[in-house]
Symmetry: C2
Subunit: 560 residues, 2 copies
């Protein structure tokens, strides 16, 4: 460590939102630090702010510009908000990727799907195995979460030890994977100079009670499923392999044949079995066999806990799906929490089932679902266990990060609220914000990447709110109107207040304007477009009380 | 009551959704029943299903077709989902409107705003005053809710007594308005033949604990506000006048000057004071005076508890508003529940405040908000109190109605799940579904009413998801292309995978297609449009992985 070297932290996604995780650490001379990336995740679009978009990624422009400084990419676990952008961004970075076996298997599949090399992904064993990446030495420490092999990272640097928790909870009996091991963490906290910086999950900082173990669900789920008379259908995240196992075991112990429905379900359990993280999963049957089983002897475990329109839960709520159908007397269990923003989709499914006479059971008492994240008392326990000098809350909306900072400061830890784009110098005993880097969002839209601020999505939202009028006109060799202007409407009522067709009304006003127009106006594309647009909007406002988006096309015939 | 007369119930809105309440009762010979309407409410649009729409109403086509049979319109209370459509629908019905004083005042304002006659609205006193409307005699019975003067209706008919609860809760100390009076309800249940039909609010049927009184909030709110050091800003529904009073009193007792912010706040409290339902509201100051008060001595009560973008809470979250500004150390209290579907907007505001250093306090422990609806044990208490022969759950999504039916059947009451459009014969001892009436939704879009199924909004959603391409071409007198086709994009990325402009790529393919086109294609508008659309979508799919909406305009120059 020379005098001028520094240790930096730069979140590019996930700090100020839940989802889209992307964190950078650097060590070296200012502006020339060698870098590692932790996680490359996505977040999901919605109609309010990103209609038509397929996926949302952190803007990795800064990473691409500094690709020559990047040593490696580490993935903490295989959730989409941590690994979903890897294969999309990798071509701009082309650096080795490190992950544990299950995570690596998912990452490799994603690389392959995008035509990128699988072998860029390297499998790492859990601590004590170390990965050297420039000035960094990184170890993967098993933590519990809601997917197999979630890991915290221990990042040793010449300036001290960083613990990057990834997503985690404290679970002494997680059903799948290693239980929380206070001994191991005590060791991590007391090796060498101990923990300098804790970069810590914040999503559940407002949840006051200690987190509950995955194992607490087995009893209530078994009782619930045993008590049902018709077919039982349960949904949860496909990646929550421990939950799938608990559900399937509860089904089997109630004498039911179990069938997994939805592509992701089968993919996740296969990868978990192939990579050895899952064993003893009860036997399941494919849908075509399930359709032959009498319904009181059948249990389906299906995708779509968030109400996704194309997932199995939504398909079943609309009728027959892969030969299976819900009926009166069946029950549907959400072994899941509705993520804020997904309520409408989930409620739509609940009501569709209600119409079928299906009993819907949700998690309102916490009996049938536990969170995968550390709650407030758990976060405090981790602070106490690791006693870091510096706390940097990550993975949370601004309000979560702020609350987590307060919690740390209350314990005498130097905590800093760093959101996406804020570069923090961690070299000294206090975090120091040294730079603001352009950060933001990139959209995968169809097969193309567009910037969130490019205006493309803004135009879509405008068309959705205001409708779209398209006005065309032709001028002759002398720039005189040839025939009348022509108007087409999209997303607008045909008839206005006057009772005449809106397009007729607009065309009549345009005809009048054009007949009065002087040559200066007629020759100037920009002015003529503005004049046409103004009339369209005026007539629309009078007739239908809306100002639509307007596209004007002027075709000028030239002398040949 | 002649042998052939029947008593019918027909929900047109609110039965299968929360909001948009509209219920019809009829009595007389089948198909010639004389009718009354209870409530004419709206519901609110969202980007997912109704972008650009201003308000959503029940389709009142059936009512308009049968206007000559309608005797009167009764409004139970002044919430938008009960009175919001009155002035919009009234011109098609033109029947007398009855409501209690406060509700009538709001209804009259709405009539006036829409240019309809105020004096169509008649003020009715609470029971024992009776309104005769054809074969019906109707009384308004005060119930507690979250707005002044909410009323249940007692509808006496030759076939027996109906109790239509409206929205209600059981509150012995509602702060504003009359407390729940078991004596009065006992009387209603035991007059004459008792209650034949209970038509009952269902929104909170899944809430297991008994409802809490509005009065329980005064203590916790006073303590909370007294403990704050900076400015305190609280939000709740403007129509919840009791809550406004409790909040304002808590502010005053903490030595704070109180200011109401947002048009609806002032309107509701003025109407409540003018109509005598509210008295003793603490003095408030206008915003310009509030701006002069030091912030630890100031409390704002503001609109926008649901995160509405234009309400005061959102305005303050974006910066200075009417001379007032939130700062670090201030607190913002949601004395409200987030209605499902509004989470994103509310969370957006919470995070904006977090960025300002403002502490956000919400209702996660129920200390600072109580619901205005009867919970499950309260519904059971009402069943027990009224002992109706027939139960018709209303105002709820399908799942709420279904659960409420189960609750009634469990008590030995003949309960029927009737959703919008189902006409139920109530003449006998059991409800009997006799007809299905076309029901649905009408949108107020700008100043025009459009049917939800007209395709207008569907086109907007498509443009939002897929973008819009507009292709224009001109043909000469011989139907030969004159120049090249021209393409404009809206809501689509400019550049595709090949790196060339998407519009150039499409135009090149169109030029090629047109140069090869035979006369039969060129002369047929429909075929030519389809051919152009197909090419646009093909090229877009290749270049950007999306199939846009396409509007084709073919201008044919004619021999003059």
């Amino acid at each position: 460590m020379t005098k001028k070297d520094r240790l930096i932290y730069l979140p590019l996604g996930g700090a100020g939102e839940i989802g889209m995780n992307c964190y950078v650490y650097g060590y070296g001379p200012a502006g020339k630090e060698r870098l590692i990336i932790v996680d490359l995740g996505v977040t999901f679009p919605d109609m309010d702010s990103s209609p038509g978009v397929d996926l949302i990624l952190a803007d990795t422009g800064w990473l691409a510009d500094n690709a020559d400084r990047i040593e490696a990419i580490f993935i903490t676990h295989a959730h989409e908000d941590h690994v979903g952008a890897l294969a999309l961004v990798w071509p701009d970075l082309k650096k080795p990727v490190y992950a544990r076996k299950f995570t690596a298997a998912i990452a490799m599949m994603k690389m392959e799907e995008q035509g990128q090399p699988r072998d860029a992904v390297h499998i790492v064993q859990a601590r004590p195995e170390r990965v050297e990446a420039g000035p960094f030495e990184v170890q993967f420490v098993p933590v519990s979460h809601s997917i197999p092999e979630s890991s915290a990272l221990i990042i040793d640097t010449p300036a001290g030890r960083i613990v990057h928790t990834g997503d985690f909870k404290l679970d002494g009996s997680p059903v799948v994977g290693e239980p929380f091991d206070p001994e191991q963490w005590h060791g991590i906290a007391h090796e060498g100079d101990g923990v300098k910086v804790l970069v810590c999950d914040s999503t559940n900082v407002f949840v006051e009670h200690p987190g509950r173990s995955e194992a607490t669900l087995a009893g209530p789920l078994s009782e619930l499923i045993a008590a049902q008379e018709g077919m039982v259908v349960a949904t949860t995240f496909a990646s929550n392999v421990a939950r799938l196992k608990t559900l399937a075991e509860a089904g089997r112990s109630a004498g039911r044949t179990v069938c997994l429905l939805g592509r992701a379900m089968k993919r996740m359990t296969s990868v978990a079995e192939e990579t050895g993280v899952l064993s003893g999963f009860p036997g399941t049957v494919p849908p075509e066999e399930a359709a032959e089983v009498s319904r009181h002897k059948l249990m389906l475990i299906v995708t779509g806990s968030q109400g996704e329109r194309r997932a199995a839960s939504a398909q079943l709520s609309r009728g027959r799906y892969l030969g299976l159908e819900m009926k009166e007397g069946d029950s549907f269990l959400f072994s899941s929490k509705t993520i804020p923003g997904n309520e409408r989709g989930v409620i739509r499914i609940m009501n569709a089932y209600s119409e079928m006479g299906v009993d819907v059971i949700d998690d309102h008492d916490g009996l049938y679902h536990v969170s995968g994240h550390a709650n407030r008392p758990d976060l405090e326990a981790v602070h106490d266990l690791l006693r870091p000098k510096i706390l940097l809350p990550m993975h949370g909306e601004h309000r979560h990060l702020r609350e987590h900072v307060k919690l740390g400061i209350g314990k005498g830890i130097a905590a800093e609220l760093a959101v996406n784009g804020m570069m923090v110098d961690l070299t000294g005993n206090e975090p120091d914000v040294v730079e603001y880097v352009d950060s933001g969002r990139t959209y995968l839209d169809g097969s193309v990447m567009i910037g969130a601020m490019d205006g493309v999505v803004r135009d879509r939202i405008r068309m959705a709110l205001n409708g779209h009028v398209l006005a065309t006109m032709i001028t002759d060799e002398d720039d005189q109107p040839l025939g009348d202007a022509w108007v087409e409407l999209m997303g607008l009522p045909e008839t206005g207040r006057s009772g005449t067709k809106l397009s007729d009304g607009i065309e009549a006003e345009l005809a009048e304007m054009l007949s009065d127009a002087d040559d200066r106006l007629l020759r100037d594309d920009k002015k003529l477009e503005d004049a046409v647009r103004k009339i369209v909007r005026q007539v629309a406002m009078e007739e239908i009380g809306k100002k639509p988006e307007v596209t004007v096309v002027i075709s000028r015939l030239l002398v040949e």
